[in-house]
Point group: C2
Chain length 295, copies 2
Amino acid sequence: MTAALDEQWKAHRLRVEAQLPLYVAAHADFPETLRESMLYSLMAGGKRLRPVLVLMAAEACGGQWQEALPAACAIEMVHTYSLVHDDLPAMDDDDLRRGRPTNHVVYGEAMAILAGDALLTLAFEVIAQHITDKSVAAECCLDLAKASGPVGMVAGQVADLAAEHAGEATVEQLEHIHRRKTGRLLCSALTLGGRVAKANPDTLLALARYGNAVGLAFQIADDLLDVHGDPQKLGKQTQKDATAGKLTYPSLIGAEASRSKAEGLIKEACQAISGMGEKGKPLIDMAQFVLSRDH
Amino acid sequence: MTAALDEQWKAHRLRVEAQLPLYVAAHADFPETLRESMLYSLMAGGKRLRPVLVLMAAEACGGQWQEALPAACAIEMVHTYSLVHDDLPAMDDDDLRRGRPTNHVVYGEAMAILAGDALLTLAFEVIAQHITDKSVAAECCLDLAKASGPVGMVAGQVADLAAEHAGEATVEQLEHIHRRKTGRLLCSALTLGGRVAKANPDTLLALARYGNAVGLAFQIADDLLDVHGDPQKLGKQTQKDATAGKLTYPSLIGAEASRSKAEGLIKEACQAISGMGEKGKPLIDMAQFVLSRDH
């Protein structure tokens, strides 16, 4: 990672992490256990890739990160809700996430379902309330809903569960799953930032192309890290996917072809935003990082 | 029920029921099982009280029901998602709803969780996309999110689960639960209709007061029907609450005091919208019906 990207990422991450609990605390008559359960997962750390991309995209389009903060926090709430629900016993049945017990292990299944529901709903509340231009707010609600709903992230999870039951899949099916389960929301991070900065339709299209390509590359890089990564740097076990018999790019097309596919996608992403010039530099650095990351 | 109300209710209900599947079918690449699971619960019938109130409120404010149809369908999606999640084994663990097996019994827990998530998300998509005035669309997203999120419906469900664990409660606690679990969403039905018709702040306030009072009265009437209702007309078992040891108004303050409380609330509701004159007549009829209903 370049020093400039590292610095900007950290600054944006801290802005998001300072704002998130304020949105959750904004209502005085929030039930206390619900608040705790929501914050437990929302403040569990992580790279904050999606909200950081929202702020970076807004700046790349000539906007201010401050204006984009509600959308950044909203997308992190949606991402968090999806993790909480995916970890449930009826879904992936995971007991650990980022080295800590998952939400339902700590608060029980009922509260984990409700905390997820509440985070998803609060995401739309935050956008509708705190994005000052109400026409932009409506556009952002639409963008986020499409990315996370029944043709976006939820569709990806449905396809993922179906593929696990079926036991085998083609690389086309895997790509279909990834593009929906993680790709659409990551793409939305870019376009939300662009919308808040009132980017024109051409720029929004370029951001969407960048987001789609980086989103898939990120997933392939994740699969590769599970095969070749250093468990210490990653903060989680490797070889987990292979042991669980999970569908991955390396298992389907091999590590070399996976790496070359990811490289092609990153090239595609950088080309898509080449018209943004100097302002697009942080996004170019980000795309390069996805390829080279070791955690 | 007056003949006029009966006719209008039926007409609005059919409009909502004709539109709902169109919104779910709007996306070509919807996963088929997800669509089935969403439609199974969305098209399970029922009174359609909330969406009908949206359309009636819009008309009472001088608007057209057509403009209010997206908001009406959205609120029914939110109501349906809440039923699907409430019925889950980890929550109320109900196998039957409206005489049919519940969603998770038919489609499995994972799909029921995802169908609920998808319905909630689609509700915001429909509002943001199909309400033509984007500033009104953003207001409606905010209204619906507040009513259904962590200070609204979800808070009510959290309080309800907590009270069940505690085993006993006061009438104040019961009112707190009902106002959140069912009251806020019902109130939102009224204000969504008003917002689409561009009602002024005073009218929105009157509609909210009406909605809050009718919402609580509706719940008390529900409790009373469980004690005194005719199972055939209701299409469900009575005495279920008492058997399950569930908190109800009759169990806490007796049937007579419950009825008189409901009557007071209906009076309050009618007074709140008295300024609307002739246009408010259907809402007055609706409030009276809540009190006299036998199903």
